[in-house]
Amino acid sequence: MIQLFKVCKSYGTNKALDDINLRMRKGEFVFITGPSGAGKTTLLRIIFGTARPTSGQILIDGINLSRISRLKLDLLRRKIGFVFQDFKLLNSKTIFQNVALALEVTGERPGIIRKKTHQALRAVGLSGKEKAFPLELSGGEQQRVAIARAIINEPMILVADEPTGNLDPDITKEIMVLFRSVNLRGTTLVIATHNRELLKDTGQRIIALDKGRVIEERIG
């Protein structure tokens, strides 16, 4: 599903990623961990296509991201959900509108958008909050909205960057349960975190980065 070959990424003289070779299978649940500045976010951005590697190749579902046109990249992104640490919700839009946005950009029929948006909000336990605005919700609820928006297109890959970074332990557990349920439906999950608690007894693959290099791969 995701393949990286000798991927390097530099910002000026600073090497964010150095010679990364990785392979993630369809339906796999992978944690990327490491200290701040290890290259976790850069790796996720490269997988999502918002950053281009300085050298190396990335294949997503057999498509080489370095040879893809801008339009095709936009279309591919519809198959990849992204959950951000800061949620990236539009505060001027309702919860329903925020989630529906991911389908609106695809030109989907309004009836289907309504139906799928309600389903996605139900899946993350936010039925009844459709008309609320993001700032009226707690941090955990806002993250659920972000997850609902990321899964509404039934993506083949879901990428999450520190999705529980701003949340308390109880809500973190709830969010992780939600991610597992998404993974059980066949979506490949890649989650970046520096939260060691989150990695305990997961039974999932953990890739540790430091200074832009893979230093360890293990099952948690």
Binding site: D74, R77, K88
Partner: protein
């Protein structure tokens, strides 16, 4: 799906205009003033052109006589005039009549002529050539032929004025084009900056749209519609204001220095459509400039 997308684009553009009414009103107002100036220039230029064309279609000529010309010479001149094809003598202006005409022409300033009663204005024949459609009348040739006759002092014809005036008109056209060009650049600048402001106020939204997989055109089209709407509304507002000004001032006919009457007409349908289309095109172009710059950066 295409219709659905366009409904979405229009809804998105109009809701953005309604969400930022002040900035759009200021922009539309400024563009309206620019287009109003542009339209006023067009109106003025069109009417002056029409006036010159109408004037040129009939040729009038004044044959000034030397002082003390006897009746016999006058008769010879009169018969010579009648020999020219299409020539019609409108009248013979005596010295007294010439003074009366001058006083009438000066109007309130006629007092300037007090004490100049003795000033000898020349007698003249006023002639007109009708139907010059076959271009058989050559005013220059007639002028030189009449000026050779005994008793004729000078011959002046209306086209001399037209020729001089056409030079002024050419200059007017060049100045008009330059001002029109500058106004277009100003409109482009205003629209592109207004849209740039709305783009920057919505950059987070654009970023999220792009992260969700929106294509560039999906993001760009609502902004282009915004620009087009601004241009269209400004063009219509400018035309309405120009028409109102035309009706209120109601200078339908101007008599200038005794020259043929200028019948002021409003812009033709094509002229009006041109202003609206120009405004619309400038709106879309302004949108293109700002959104293009944003995507580049």
């Amino acid at each position: 799906m295409i219709i659905r997308l366009w409904i979405y684009f229009f809804r998105s553009a109009f809701s953005n205009i309604l969400n930022n009414p002040l900035i759009h009103l200021i922009s539309i107002g400024t563009i309206t003033i620019s287009m109003l100036l542009f339209g006023a220039f067009m109106l003025l230029s069109m009417n002056l052109n029409n006036w010159i064309r109408e004037w040129g279609e009939s040729l009038s000529m004044s044959i000034y006589l030397k002082d003390g010309v006897d009746e016999k010479a006058k008769k010879e001149i009169e018969s010579a005039i009648k020999k020219f094809k299409g020539a019609e003598i409108k009248g013979f202006i005596t010295k007294d009549q010439a003074m009366i005409n001058l006083k009438e022409g000066l109007g309130e300033q006629a007092g300037l002529l007090e004490g100049l009663e003795e000033m000898a204005l020349p007698e003249s024949f006023e002639i007109i050539f009708k139907d010059r459609s076959d271009n058989s009348v050559d005013p220059k040739l007639i002028k030189s032929s009449l000026e050779k006759m005994k008793g004729v002092d000078e011959v002046q014809y209306s086209q001399q004025w037209i020729e001089r005036f056409e030079g002024v008109m050419d200059m007017f056209r060049v100045v008009g084009l330059a001002i029109g060009g500058l106004l277009c650049v100003a409109v482009l600048f205003i629209i592109s900056n207004t849209i740039k402001l709305t783009i920057y106020s919505r950059r987070d939204e654009i970023e999220i749209y792009k992260l969700m997989g929106a294509t560039d055109w999906f993001v760009k089209i609502p902004f282009l519609i915004e620009g087009a709407t601004q241009g269209l509304l400004s063009g219509i507002a400018a035309l309405v204001m120009l028409n109102l000004a035309y009706s209120v001032i109601s200078l339908k006919a101007i008599n200038l220095f005794g020259l043929p009457v200028i019948n002021i007409a409003f812009l033709s349908v094509q002229g009006s459509i041109f202003i609206i289309c120009l405004s619309l095109v400038l709106g879309v172009a302004g949108g293109f400039i700002s959104i293009g710059r944003f995507f580049k950066s």
